[in-house]
Assembly symmetry: C2
Homo-oligomer: 434 residues x 2
């Protein structure tokens, strides 16, 4: 890496040359405010040239004004390669067996000091080997299915994951399945799998990380441990998401797959159950079940029914003031999930377009952009008019779950409109008769 | 109303005829489970005919299975008309003067027992008269500007409201302005007014209600009182939203207009500050300022700059797995706010469409559908690629605020892209140099 400018230009590059350091080096930088040490990070090309960036031990980046730097000392030279993976722990035949399916994302990634970003890199076995505590709770059989950031996953990937899970479950060898996954769309995948994998006899647990495994502040190890313990030992079956329960590093919340949402861009406890409480907390290697408000299937009873096809001809449209009803007309799809305001409303100027879509056979459903609470469309004129036009109210189903469900229903349900209103996987509370 | 079936059919209608009661009557109904009394509500046409609905004193509706009814007793006949408005309280010349602009919504509505729903109905003076406590805090000059549910408000309405506020402020007569507003899009209007009314010398406070004024559980009175006390006495200026701070009926939170969101469909404390704390709590008729993290202008210093034009040529597009990039191509607009996943990502299959839009001159910005946290687009390849294409990262600006801001910027800012990244009204935290 020596000689590589690391993206630095102008004043920043001159400063680094003066002290003979380059991106990736461990450095100590002295300014008027004091001294800070860490890894000199490469610069993104369009960044200001007046700052250098140090990744501190805390895992956070600090920008340092070039004009304020008094001296830079090189502590260690850039390391081009990650250390070799530690050996896989020895197998304990008395422990439950868990299948680990790796799909990519931060949990299976490490910081790339060359580009300054995070790259999908760790294999499932490297990950397993890097969380040695797993070995005392379960025997984990890892398999890399794909290596994708979750923002790039599509309904075709959901199908592939569902089929791989079904294969593992049907082998009869596993007490549960863990899926490592990018966090960006993990809740969409969890919802999709909840419909594609009905009648599961074991828990299937999606797990991710908000900070990559090789960072000191990483949540990867605790999340992986929580997911694996739940998959191996919980008395319930179905699809779940396991992530940090809070900012302290000791508890993992296990959310029902159709009732969870990523509600923060960066916090480790970004995932929250919506309108219900998490199904369980895993703490100190033990599962504590909670009354979530969702009826869960007991472990061991179900017979898996794999329905892995998805039809992505669904538009999720969020309403806002100034929304152009032509967006409904031009949505070339078989189902529309409207994210309305409040109890499930849109401007009355959208009614003709919605009516036209329904007359063409498009299933138009209403969720709320409020996130929490339920759609209730008989309280105001607007809601009643929309019901009259034929809009399907989705009660407390969250919009992301509704989108995945509609893609599943289009490919599998004999009556899509009816399927959208039925509770299939805990996604919708019983409607109160009105 | 006698003789009106109130929407009842079949078994329900036969039962009501048998006991000589009709919709709107106060009744007592006896079933095997006990007795309940309340107002017999009319039925929505497509509702099941096997239930009658009683509105209980708590304000909630209860459905009663027709087959389980043992008897119905009429306690009072239906009242066709609301009682006349109480008189406007006498003026106290020593009190601050507040302008109240009524735009409609639940806070200015009452239940219509004929249709079973809620209708915009109360005039601003009726509302003022129905919250007599106001008279000891301020002299309120009410004016009805419009009477619309907020889901029907458009950027043209924002302009009309901004102009009316400017007229009130410029008169020099008022210590503050209160705007009663439907809650569905109140946060969008608050953001829009924050940009259209820069340099305000007084507080402008939007206020709504989640339950209509004539219901026992209504939050209208407390919210109106909190908004008026803040408008009359707070030491700061700017645009704010005042709503219940919690479920108990004693405190109102005052949120910064660009940092607030409706996060629950029905709870009285549905409005929450995002990534900051509320600017103030109003309790017991007094304002307690809080450290919100947003710098607020002091009262009395600003010189109002009215910029009330909006260009609604903005598309807010929420990304989801299976999102069709053609939705970007077909968005006929000058600016796009992408609600990406996580730190600000979309599937790489959207990159060509985004690039094409930017090349056509469309300003494409990135907010996060996580709601909380900030967009950070240099952490992963996906974000860096999007920055290279020319996408504008919006840090911690919420998507709803970004949408209103873009509509304002298109009509008023010399450089829309630059305006979107600048902090104009507390909507975006200073970007950390990267």
């Amino acid at each position: 890496m020596s000689g590589d400018s690391g993206g630095y230009r102008g004043a920043g590059l001159r400063l680094l040359s003066m002290y003979g350091v380059c991106a990736g080096d461990a450095v100590s930088v002295v300014t008027a405010e004091g001294e800070m040490s860490g890894i000199l990070m490469p610069r993104y090309e369009s960044a200001s040239e007046d700052y250098i960036v140090i990744k501190l031990k805390s895992g956070y980046n600090a920008g340092v004004d070039v004009s304020k730097v008094k001296s830079i000392e090189k502590i260690d030279s850039a390391k081009g390669e990650a250390p070799a993976a530690p050996p896989v722990p020895a197998e304990n035949p008395g422990l439950p067996r868990v299948a680990l399916i790796s799909t990519g994302g931060t949990i299976a990634s490490k910081i790339d000091y060359r580009t300054g970003g995070v790259k999908a890199a760790l294999s499932a076995s490297e990950l397993y080997a890097s969380v040695p505590e797993l070995a005392s709770h379960a025997t984990v059989d890892p398999e890399v299915l794909m290596s994708e950031y979750s923002e790039n996953l599509t309904p075709e990937h959901w199908a592939a994951i569902a089929e791989k899970v079904a294969e593992k479950v049907r082998s009869g060898k596993y007490s549960g399945v863990v899926i490592s996954h990018g966090t960006d769309t993990m809740h969409y995948t969890a919802a999709a799998l909840s419909f594609a994998l009905q009648g599961l006899p074991v828990p299937v647990v999606l797990v991710g990380a908000q900070r990559s495994s090789d960072r000191p502040s990483s949540d990867a190890a605790l999340n992986m441990l929580g997911a694996t313990v739940f998959a191996a030992t919980a008395g319930v079956a179905g699809v779940f998401v396991a992530m940090h329960a809070g900012t302290s590093d000791d508890a993992v919340a296990v959310h029902v797959g159709t009732r969870v949402r990523k509600n923060h861009t960066s916090r480790r406890d970004a995932f929250e159950s919506i309108d219900v409480t998490p199904a369980a907390i895993v703490k100190g290697g033990a599962v504590e079940m909670q009354a979530s408000g969702i009826e869960l299937a007991p472990r061991g009873r179900g017979e898996l029914k794999l329905q892995s096809r998805f039809d992505s001809s669904v538009a999720l449209l969020k309403y806002y003031p100034g929304f152009d009803p032509a967006m409904i007309d031009s949505a070339n799809c078989k189902a529309i999930i409207l994210e309305g305001t409040g109890l499930g409303h849109v401007n009355k100027n959208c009614f003709p377009s919605i009516k036209k879509a329904i007359e063409k056979g498009v299933v138009v459903c209403m969720a709320s952009q409020c996130i929490w609470g339920r759609v209730s469309m008989t309280v105001y004129d607007t809601g009643r008019d929309l019901l009259d036009i034929g809009v399907v109210p989705l009660s407390d189903m969250i919009a992301e779950t509704a989108t995945a469900k509609a893609m599943w229903a289009l490919a599998n349900a004999p009556n899509v409109k009816k399927a959208m209103q039925e509770n299939i996987a805990g996604e919708i509370s019983e409607a109160i008769p009105i």
